[in-house]
Assembly symmetry: C2
Homo-oligomer: 398 residues x 2
């Protein structure tokens, strides 16, 4: 019995690799600050559990494959606020944004078809594309250029007859980059000229800072036929374990085919949709508070990072991640050393080496991703630990 | 922009096709008995909601990708009762049995690889195999032969160098067939000789009637390396909307690779796992009651079916479906006529034409599937309606 080539091409989560080191550090009595987690520490709004507790049904039955009407309407009402009018057949509720992405890619990719993705990118995109037998074509960005990617020439160089779509996260994970309206125009123009889909993963939509408005590809009418949005309650409402997401598009053929895949897995969780509808129905003021909290955290992290000599980073305009180039040859080696050899006052720190966010071999080796989902004071201390560790690491080597 | 060939090969759910007819019948004031539904009408055990209500967590966070330890242990304890000892790494919790099946097929199938499936089969298997780019090789069975399929010669005729697995539902949907231990030996032997996987979807495991024991492929030690079980709370605990399933196997390489796919979609729903663990923890006596109820229903349906001239069926030993050959050329035409033209005392009936359960063109046209998930009296009346309708249909044609 042999397994499929496709599955052998997918990486196991790198978290496991570091698990033994963090466990050993904790066992040795060290306090570890975890900067590697994408799980917000903000409480899930109480309406979620309240709605579930009050649901009262006696049989937890299948819901409609496209989602319950109440859930779909809640999503539509949320989008309407941003001037995006989606019909009831333009929204399909999924088991998290992950399932939305798999459905989309399965619908547009045949074996060896290509999806362009700016790198560094959310690692799981690799699994979705490879599961479908497709190929990722990375659009390389650099810390020196602030990880921006809306470069017409660079994108067009990557387009081939097998290109099916351009997949991006906006605001970005792991970089925190937010596209400007002009950049979105550039990408939209390319998609029209080369007749490809734009798959815009906007799960971090509400996390845009400095009072700036957030733009969505869903707001550009002339590319509505080729735009597919991915949405989720996970980050927006700190409800990652609810596994409620959505795909939105006005491309009828695409949505009819995504519905076939939705039917094949019957439905998204029934109770979680009850809770999810309550979350989408929250007053917009809910986001103001969480946004302010994350902005404070981002500012604290950046302030501390700027105190470190040799670090390359920009203040990210969105999401709750920052990708940083450190003055080390190999961030993974540095991390293992941090966990095994280093402590300051019996404390150390864990982050995500960024190499795994790149598809291009050898890229990102000096970079790391920090998720700022801890309290401000903890974040400051954690970045200070990186600074102290870098000094010790340098001396150790010389 | 064009969509993938794979997606174009997947059928939309046939339910939609008949929806307009059932709606029109209801609008015309007819009562429709629905025999087409796989959703049990039995209450979800209260422990499910109780466990969720008492959970008390403030952040609905990601769980481990393989499933929460409590949920995994509950599944293991359930299997231990049947003499099946699965280690903690041998169980991965999935979003329903559907996701378990997709994971397995993605792990073993490359483009154009083949999976043998006895037909008629659960329609969604088609979608899972086609999504992966693989091919279904149907092993045809007939109503006259009681839909049995463990025929060594017939199976071996279908095996090619591209065969990767044998996928079956036991007890069967839509046929209700339950494999005997001898039949399981035949299939196990073939799998060993031809080095293929056995994927055994055992979600109807507890529904085996007439006091007979239920055997699982998981009980045959010598094929443990090639056996993969699919499990789910949906039917067993009447909790279809919970979307909690599991894949179980002692093949380390397979499970390590399924875990990669599980990681790529982060986790199964957190709260539903809390409820799911409570369901698996129910006392075995829970099944006695539901089993008795379904057995009574099955007996009622069969009793009524035997009163119809020209019907071919056998009393199914398991699940809650029966596939029946009717004395009509085309069961779909008959169904549409039933919904549009027929009534008795202003009542009519809906069932599932079985053609969609066959991969072989033209097979199953005279057959239907009845799901016996209504109360006994309603089931009797519904089958009586089929009898009366058949008489009227015959007369209408002559």
């Amino acid at each position: 019995m042999k397994l499929s080539k496709r599955i052998n091409g997918i990486q196991a989560s790198p978290i496991r690799k570091f698990f033994k080191y963090t466990e050993a550090a904790k066992k040795a009595g060290k306090k570890v600050y975890f900067l590697n987690i994408g799980q917000p520490d903000i409480k899930t709004p109480e309406v979620f559990m309240e709605a579930i507790k009050n649901d009262g049904r006696e049989i937890i039955e299948y819901g409609p494959s496209a989602g319950t009407p109440v859930m779909i309407d809640a999503v539509r009402a949320y989008y309407r606020r941003y001037g995006m009018e989606y019909g009831e057949d333009d929204v399909i509720i999924t088991c998290g944004g992950s399932e939305a992405l798999r459905f989309i890619i399965d619908c547009i990719c045949d074996f060896e078809d290509e999806i362009i993705i700016p790198e560094p990118f959310y690692t799981n995109y690799g699994a979705y594309v490879k599961s479908s037998g497709g190929r990722i074509v990375p659009l390389t960005t650099t810390p020196e250029n602030g990880y921006r990617y809306a470069d017409k020439e660079a994108i067009e160089r990557l387009i081939t007859p097998r290109t099916r779509g351009f997949l991006l996260t906006n605001p970005g994970n792991p970089t925190g980059v937010v596209l400007t309206p002009e950049e979105m125009e550039v990408i939209g123009q390319i998609a029209v000229e080369h007749d490809i889909f734009i798959i815009s993963d906007e799960v971090y939509r509400e996390f845009v800072y400095d009072g700036k408005p957030m733009s969505s590809f869903g707001q550009i009418a002339r590319i509505a036929d080729r735009t597919v949005l991915v949405d989720s309650v996970s980050k927006r409402f700190s409800a990652c374990g609810a596994r409620i997401g959505a795909v939105l598009s006005k491309n009828r053929e695409l949505m009819d085919n995504i519905l076939k895949l939705a039917q094949s897995r019957l439905c998204a969780p029934t109770l979680e949709q009850v809770g999810g509808a309550a979350l989408y129905g929250l007053d917009p003021s809910y986001f103001d508070e969480t946004r302010e909290e994350y902005q404070r955290r981002r500012d604290a992290v950046c302030e501390e990072l700027l105190k470190i000599e040799g670090v390359v980073c920009m203040k990210p305009p969105g999401a709750f991640y920052i990708t940083v180039k450190l003055p080390v040859d190999n961030a993974e080696d540095f991390l293992i050393w941090l966990l095994r050899e280093f402590d300051d006052d019996n404390e150390t720190v864990m982050f995500t080496p960024a190499e795994g966010f790149y598809a291009t071999e050898g890229m990102g080796r000096s970079e790391i991703r920090i998720a700022y989902v801890l309290k401000e004071a903890d974040l400051r201390r954690a970045v200070q630990l990186i600074r102290l560790a870098l000094e010790a690491y340098k001396n150790r080597k010389s």
